[in-house]
């Protein structure tokens, strides 16, 4: 069986610092997989390795059948690997639908169209509206991003990633910075993510992790400490030690 996302022995070191070592993951299609770990565990580096922002020192990354280790970030997106950012990385002066249109146009190949006015790109506009509908953001269609509530901006982050029609979706701390009052919408959005999309969360928020993850990988100091279903991880004493104060 081909996994949706697979890494074999992925590693990255900067000079003497080994940020990530020997990470091997295998995510089946449709999986909901979480990566947790204390600060400095290498989660951000891992994401950058997966998305192509960093070149690995060793190991390989596979998206479905394709070996994507040498591909640029935008090439990986075109193959079906999309991500959200931990800190909102949107276009603050555009409206919500304009942001999503940017993503949709490129996904549909219209990004190179230098002749048709965007206002006439009806198929793309409809597709963008569809994405917004999925995330219940239709009413915010014409709101300028910087005027949105933070929680809604997080939803736009997800909308942008979904607009790329990914087979694998990387959510980088989707709940980061979202006040409790706004987290319901976020949970609903994550729950409503299409079943055939494989979702990899990197998360701190245990609420989300235990709510949505089917399997959890624990990353400590750049390597995998352990991996398993949520109940098993919750009971694991080494994990508790890592999180609750044992000096590793």
């Amino acid at each position: 069986m081909t996994h949706a996302l697979r890494t074999s022995d992925l590693g990255k070191h900067f000079g003497g610092v080994r940020a990530v070592t020997g990470v091997s993951l295998a995510l089946p299609r449709g999986a909901r997989h979480a990566i947790i770990g204390p600060n400095g565990a290498g989660k951000t580096t891992l994401i950058n390795l997966l998305t192509g922002m960093l070149a690995p020192s060793e190991g390989e990354v596979y998206l479905g059948e394709d070996r994507i280790t040498r591909l640029r970030p935008d090439q990986r997106v075109k193959r079906g690997l999309a991500r959200t950012f931990q800190i909102n990385n949107l276009f603050p002066d555009l409206t919500v639908i304009q942001c999503v249109l940017l993503a949709v146009c490129e996904q549909r190949g219209a990004g190179v169209d230098a002749w048709r006015p965007v206002a006439r790109c009806e198929a793309e506009i409809a597709a963008a509206r569809e994405v917004l509908r999925l995330l219940r953001l239709e009413r915010a269609e014409n709101t300028i991003v910087r005027e949105l509530a933070y929680g809604d901006q997080r939803l736009v982050e997800i909308a942008l990633a979904l607009a790329c029609k990914p087979s694998v979706l990387l959510l980088d701390e989707p709940a980061a910075g979202v006040p409790k009052s706004e987290s319901q919408a976020l949970f609903r959005a994550i729950a409503d993510l299409p079943g055939e999309v494989t979702v990899l969360f990197v998360e701190h928020d245990m609420d989300i992790v235990f709510r949505f993850a089917q399997r959890i990988t624990v990353l400590v100091s750049g390597s995998i400490l352990t991996e398993g279903p949520p109940e098993q991880i919750a009971r694991d004493p080494t994990v508790k030690q890592v999180y609750l104060g044992g000096r590793a």
Binding site: T51, V77, F85, A114, P117, E122
Partner: protein, 330 residues
């Protein structure tokens, strides 16, 4: 169609834009004695429009755009000097040469941050100037090329002493290219340029091959700059290595900022203001011109940019705000 209210930017030609171009077309009657100057304004406007594509819309800081203007100017000049005086084909050839040069140099410019781009573009401009200077046997150096004679435009319109044909020629070329750029700016590609300017990292994460698209727009911009340069050569029947000067690259930046960067008409308005100011003021004393130009630049930056069109937009929206307030109060 109104299915996209939040998205629609003006696509059809609004009346005030049409008026703008009609006034320009009426130039034959409005300023018949100043047609050569008006042609200069149009040429500068086209050059600045090309620069707006890379600076205003794509965020590429360049201080060497005159390189492509110069290549176009000399391509047209050398062609004419060599006996090929047909204007339109010369124009196309010049644009193609400049576009090719833009393409070849774009690889150095699209990678790297602002400082690198500044340095690379400045260096390219200086390099070409130096090159043109060295090859003065071909380029004529500071004295320029001799013997440029243009054949009649479209076989019928001779380039006359009053600059009538030249003006019509510049106006037509500028208008056509402007229309093309206008479409580009409202297209998905044009939108993506602004995305790449504001957040290239995000665009990468959306699947945009940012470098490739920037290479495309840079090459296009170079081609348009080359066309502007060729227009200058063909309408004045003269070209010297001045076309490559750093001053010209710096001037185009000023013109764009004065008019408003990232706004379609910014280049044209800024070029008009700058060229006319230069024409009437610098004759007084070039040192004073440079001094006050510098002071003006500093003032613009401190007071806030957007240029003439930005100030205009602010004034209009302020008036609207005032009107709205008085309406709701009454």
């Amino acid at each position: 169609m109104s299915t996209a209210p939040g998205i629609v930017r003006i696509v059809r030609f609004p009346w005030h834009e049409a008026v703008f171009w009609l006034v320009l077309a009426a130039g034959f009657w409005l300023w018949p004695k100043h047609l050569p100057l008006a042609s200069q304004v149009l040429i500068a406007g086209l050059f600045t429009l090309s620069y707006d594509l890379i600076l205003g819309y794509s965020g590429i800081l360049s201080l060497g755009h005159a390189a492509y203007f110069g290549i176009g100017a000399y391509a047209a000049g050398l062609l004419a000097q060599g006996g090929w005086g047909e204007p339109l084909s010369g124009l196309l050839a010049a644009g193609a040469c400049a576009g090719l040069a833009g393409f070849l140099t774009s690889f150095l410019v699209v990678r790297g941050q602002d400082l690198t781009r500044l340095m690379v573009t400045t260096a390219i401009g200086l390099l070409l100037f130096e090159l043109a200077n060295r090859l003065s046997s071909i380029t004529g150096g500071v004295d320029g090329l001799l013997g440029i004679e243009m054949a009649p435009l479209l076989g019928a319109f001779r380039f006359d002493m009053y600059g009538r044909t030249a003006y019509g020629y510049c106006l037509a070329v500028t208008f056509l290219l402007f229309l093309g750029v206008r479409r580009l700016v409202h297209s998905p590609f044009g939108w993506s340029l602004r995305g790449m300017r504001d957040n290239p990292r995000r665009m990468l994460a959306l699947g945009y091959p940012v470098s490739h698209r920037l290479i495309a727009v840079y090459s296009l911009s170079a081609a348009i700059a080359g066309v502007a340069g060729a227009l200058l050569t063909q309408t004045t029947q003269f070209v010297s290595i001045d076309v490559f000067s750093f001053g010209r690259s710096a001037d185009v930046m000023v013109m764009l900022i004065v008019g408003g960067a990232g706004v379609l008409y910014g280049g044209l308005v800024g070029a008009a203001v700058f060229t006319l100011a230069y024409h009437y003021l610098s004759a007084l004393n070039p040192v004073y011109w440079q001094f006050w130009l510098g002071a003006f630049l500093i003032a613009i930056v401190l007071v806030g940019r957007g240029g003439v069109l930005g100030a205009w937009a602010r004034a209009v929206s302020a008036l609207r705000e005032k009107h709205r307030r008085t309406v709701t109060q009454s």
